[in-house]
Amino acid sequence: MAEVTQELQVQDTEKQEVTSMSEAERTRDKKVYIPRADIYETNEDIYIVADMPGVDENSVEILLEKNVLTINGYVEPNIPENYSLSYAEYEVGDYQRSFTLSNLIDQDNIEATVKNGVLRLRLPKAGPAKARKITVKAA
């Protein structure tokens, strides 16, 4: 794998809290963060990759309603027993983010995996959107 030379900047990694008031009020008394996400497209699929530290395959929920894909990640804070927090630079909370999908996604075949606190969604493109190679027949 190629050597990583670039320096990771702390200001580029700060957690951003959900501030939207349009959402229904939450029943969990906890902060909610917007996970940072990358979206990229290949010939067959669209990938959404989201940073959700503290989340695994059992604590992530993906909902698809009409064309809106919503990711919910529930984090149980891991508090070391008999220790008290003496210095804090980050807070732990749940994650929530929604994406509007185009009609060109094959909504029945979306796949999701979680590894090292990163959620990876594969959204297969529906038939017509795929780049198709048209074979030219001899006349």
Partner: protein, 149 residues
């Protein structure tokens, strides 16, 4: 007596004092509710948990492979370094949105006391690193027995 008080602070004096007192109380109460967040000196942000026996340091490192994390401890200084690697796109694949950042990182942290480097343990689970650092025996507070004279 009343007269003296009003003279000193002006007609609204006592109320102003009350308001100041109220603001002060609110400030104290809000500080008690949650510890103030400090700005990290560099990536990653760290939380430090302590008791008399040792210290536990946690950091969120989503997408970092455990084998890419290096941890070293010298006396009371902890160093965590590593790299977060980007996804490598193939020819013809393109990004629509890039919010996740990549690169190397090194964080050096001064612990509240000296630790026993041989007993340091680290766990990496769900993208969260947790390092347990037991306090060095020689550094622990000792109870001094008083001998009868």
């Amino acid at each position: 007596m009343y007269r003296g008080m009003f003279d000193r602070y002006g007609a609204r004096g006592p109320w102003r004092e009350m308001e100041r007192f109220q603001r002060e109380m609110e400030r104290l109460l809000s500080n008690m509710a949650e510890p103030r967040l400090h700005r990290p000196a560099s990536y990653p942000a760290m939380n430090v948990w302590t008791n008399n026996e040792g210290v536990v340091v946690t950091a969120e490192l989503p997408g970092v492979e455990p084998e890419d994390i290096d941890i070293s401890v010298v006396n009371d200084t902890l160093t965590v370094s590593g790299a977060r690697r980007p996804d490598e796109l193939k020819q013809g694949e393109k990004y629509h949105r890039r919010e996740r950042n990549f690169g190397r990182f090194t964080r050096t942290f001064q612990l509240p006391f000296r630790v026993d480097a041989d007993k340091v343990e680290a766990v990496f689970d769900k993208g969260v690193l947790q390092i347990s650092l037991p306090r060095a025996e020689a550094d622990k507070p000792r109870k001094i027995a008083i001998k009868a004279g």
